[in-house]
């Protein structure tokens, strides 16, 4: 077996992480409030964009899970040396990475529920759009937690990670059309936006919800294939990386 990342030890570690994250109410409530503030901000600047912004907020919130994994993984490795406690045991390095990611996702379910509720209230989506939304969020989750975990292993000073996290968040979450429709972007940037996982995810949901954005079938295929490949490739790479980096060289 190449990888063993979903066994009972992984679930055990998922529950551990969930408890750790939920230990502080701020960790649960702050992301919801931050998304609320960002939505108000977009609404002030351009009320017509609120539906796009809500879909974008869901994608952006999912992308933030990777940043949370990055911070958590670096913090408990550098400061608490916890991998040294868990990894010389039955929990596999892949299970450690996956368990941490699932635990952090679990602690943020509230954010997704609130945003999805507001979206359904302001602009009810079709069943197809909800299905696509769920699928792309899963793909973004795989991509972002993999990126976050990988980046976390590159640093020995967890304080030094934050500036990189800010750049990554802005490059993937603010610059491409996540909070705004693809149509506002100059045409020549369109293909690039469809290749970036976050904007591809938003575009796919908007395309599934007919009328929100007009993308050619080639564009849809490009977005779907890119997102799937990037998510899977990075996830598989990070599973291997988790094993490789578990023992220092």
């Amino acid at each position: 077996m190449a990888f063993s990342f979903v066994d009972r030890y992984t679930w055990g570690y998922t529950v551990t992480q969930l408890r750790v994250q939920l230990h502080d109410f701020n960790v649960v409530i702050a992301p919801i409030l931050i998304q609320g503030v960002l939505l108000i901000f977009v609404y002030i600047l351009n009320p017509a964009l609120i539906t796009y912004a809500l879909i974008g907020a869901l994608v952006y919130s999912m992308f933030q899970m990777g940043q949370r994994v990055q911070n958590e993984a670096a913090y408990i490795r550098v400061d608490s040396k916890l991998p040294e406690l868990y990894l010389p045991g039955p929990l596999t390095p892949e299970g450690y990475f996956v368990g941490m990611s699932l635990g952090i996702l679990g602690s943020n379910v509230g954010t997704f529920a609130v945003l999805a509720g507001i979206l359904e209230w302001t602009h009810p989506l079709s069943a197809l759009a909800w299905l696509v939304l769920a699928a792309v969020l899963f793909a973004v989750f795989l991509f972002t937690v993999s990126l976050g975990y990988f980046v976390s292993t590159l640093f020995e000073d967890d304080r030094a990670i934050q500036p990189y996290a800010t750049i990554i968040t802005n490059l993937f979450g603010v610059l491409p059309p996540v909070f705004y429709p693809l149509s506002l972007l100059p045409t020549y940037w369109g293909p690039l936006a469809l290749v970036l996982p976050t904007s591809a995810a938003a575009a796919l949901v908007e395309a599934a919800e007919g009328g929100l954005v007009s993308i050619s079938s080639g564009g849809i295929a490009l977005a779907a294939i890119s997102l799937t490949l990037e998510a899977l490739a990075l996830f598989l790479f990070t599973l291997a990386w988790a094993r490789r980096s578990a023992r220092e060289r």
């Binding site: 020995e156 000073d157 304080r159 030094a160």
Partner: protein
Amino acid sequence: MAEDALWARDVQKRYERRGTQPVDALRGVSLSIRPGERVGLLGRNGAGKTTFLRIASTLLWPTSGEVRVFGHDIVNHPEEGRPLIAVVPQDGKPFMHLTPYEQVYTYLRTRGFDRATSKQRTTEVLGQMGLTEVADRLNLALSGGLRQRVMVATVIATEAPLLFLDEPTIGMDPFARREVWECLRRLSKKGSTLLLTTHYLDEAEQLSDRLYIIDRGRVLVEGSPEGLKAQIGGTIRVSLKGGMRLKETLATFGTVATDGLDVHVILGPDRVEEVLQLALREKLSATVGPVSLEEAFLRVVGRSIDDES
């Protein structure tokens, strides 16, 4: 008459956290340290050593009690005492993005030392602490023991009149520990007063003129290392391998402690020969050595545990 470097009376500290039982970390600690003295604070984990040290170094508010640093009331006016103190915190880490040289130098600058003095002291203390070779490496790249040495060097360089050291040599190898001891002795000769907590009893014995043993937030006993050792009924320990069956006979020579089937007798020098002859007659192997501070510590704290229970 000169003021005590540190004087504390009836210091109490109760930690109250919502949803948990209050914890009485200090239950009336009183002590005094004369200028230039080196004093060790010993106790089990959770005995209250760090709590007391943090209160005395103005890091933590006491619940009640008085603490004076060179006569200044640092409970109500900490700013008066702070220029006179420096602290090596427990588990402290240096700035990871600085080198040991920059760490010590910038700390001295932030304490108000001028550039020339800061440079001179930094070079001097890094040399004394065996850090010259790594002076230009990032703290991030140093081992845990070296980082701890950097922390101690940072504080020693201040030459503050009163230094608090919370487990200063934790994680250091025996050579490094000796270098730190030497630096602290040198500083003490220059006039600085030291209060340290440690779990290394050899360190406490080497460095301290006087010791306070505290347990469950109270001072159990105070005295010099020799004085404390004398309190347990003798200065020599004879250990008899497999001497359990002679326990009652051995108890007539001195204080007896057991360790599995082995028996240790603490006694005066005048009765050592008798015990050794007994061991010879019974064909038991025996070793003779001086009583250690650890034995004194275990006896004092053990007695306290027995009394409480």
